[in-house]
Amino acid sequence: MFWNSREEEMTRDDIEKLQLELLVRNIDYAYENIPFYRDRFDEKGIKAKDIKSLKDLQNIPFTTKDDFRNNYPFGLFATDMKKIVRIHASSGTTGKPTVVGYTKKDLETWSNLVARIAVAAGVTDNDIVHIAFGYGLFTGGFGLHYGLEKVGASVVPASSGNTKRQIMLMQDYGATVLVCTPSYALHIGETAQKLGIDVHKDLKLKIGLLGAEPWSNQMRKKIEERLGLKAYDNYGLSEVMGPGVAGECEAQDGMHIAEDNFIVEIINPETGIPVEDGEYGELVVTPLTKEALPIFRYRTRDITRIKKDRCLCGRTFARMDKPIGRTDDMLIIRGVNVFPSQIEEVLFSIEGISPHYQIILERDGALDKATILVEANANLFFDEMKKQRQFMDRINAELKSALGIEITAKLVEPYSIERSEGKAKRIIDKRKF
């Protein structure tokens, strides 16, 4: 099923023609309305009329989170506050949050794009959708909410917290679609099991629309098993809109990017130069249809790759892989670059490992010491010390061979790793540099 059949099946030529047209228009629009971009374009001698092909986009400087901070709170808005009808903000862990604004037209665009990814995952107006994303400044809750209403589904805005109650609501209302973070989906599955709920009989879930944090395909398998649904990934970030930038279709083979609304590039995060097609690098997004916040070449810090070959579903939009990590999540352990998702991939490939883990980084003299806490369960516990040690050695060896560094796995008791209702806290870095 397609939500916007005409757009989602555009030819590559038509997509690029449209993108160029919108880009040129946006450069003019930003120049006229945002002092920050006027100065920047003047400084670099960028004029809309000089943009002849999409390649010319590369002359435009990147926009970063710092640009948002320096223009806090509303400095990057292209419209006056009278036209702004919604404000969201990201949870900056350091410093000021990034603030984003939406006009009525922007909200319309946004909910249309969210409707698109929901329908691509199989959601229809017959579905009952349980949204366990936190509502508030975070774009996840409201973003999915209005998109799913647009589809015509029955939306239950449960928000986050009180997992037992969430399960009761899903059971009583017969929710068929669950919206939350992947780690919270797992937690719901685990809690349901503890409560003696049979997810196949007592719950009616079919589809999970999960996002807002990186997760591996192994984790997808675990979620699908535990909740008895098909889990679909989607992607977005508040600076360029929110959820709805990209989403998986039923082929579950990459997330289709709404290329009629965004131009995406993959660059080498160190040099800023675009990488070869199909290679991993940092995702850079230029929204094309935003009225309040038309920014250019936003550096997402997400590491992913893009493929443009034809998808089984028939959509022509390019697909991005699940991000394997964030440039700022990249751990440097003993001089080696490691993404938490790589560690997750290794752990989850070992039969029986529970999906809850935490990486602890410490300094042992001059050396980094990395420990992974894994929760014990009956599958990982052997009554004999010898077998237990062999098992732990096997995990350590697999981590070593996949990552090239020494990481020690340590079994901890069940439920000793904190459960999160939002994004999971996977890394505790106690190193002091």
Binding site: A376, N377, A378, L380, F381, F382, D383, E384, M385, K386, Q388, R389, K410, L411, V412, E413, P414, Y415, S416
Partner: protein, 148 residues
Amino acid sequence: MDIEKYKIPQISVFIENKKGRFYNTTNAMREAGVNIRAMSLADTMDFGILRFVVDKPKEAYDALIESDFIVKKNDIMAIAIDDECGGLSKLLKVVSDLDLNVEYMYTFVNSLDKRAVMLFKFEDIDSAIQKLSDSNINLLDQEYFNRI
């Protein structure tokens, strides 16, 4: 002979080497009205394996699972020896002569009948029961642990 009769259910619990975890384990069983007859702790730097023989194995298992412990049930053998010099040595000679593979063992002394009880985890419990019983070794059954 009835081999099953001489299989003693043992409860093994995974515990982290953290303050209070040992107590929590025993407390969970106390609350379930379970009496611990014998126990051993095998530990490493990070974690330990607590092993118990109790009077009510099923209740103990359920109570520990209910308290979110990681628990395994398996069968071991209990052998009574005279609580006197050389008693253990005699038994171990038999075990060794029979070529039985011991995974681990521990002991406790029953002060009532002046006997020491050795608990053995053999690799192949069925053959161990058969062979030891043929060698006139005094095997104990679960009844014994319910009684004392």
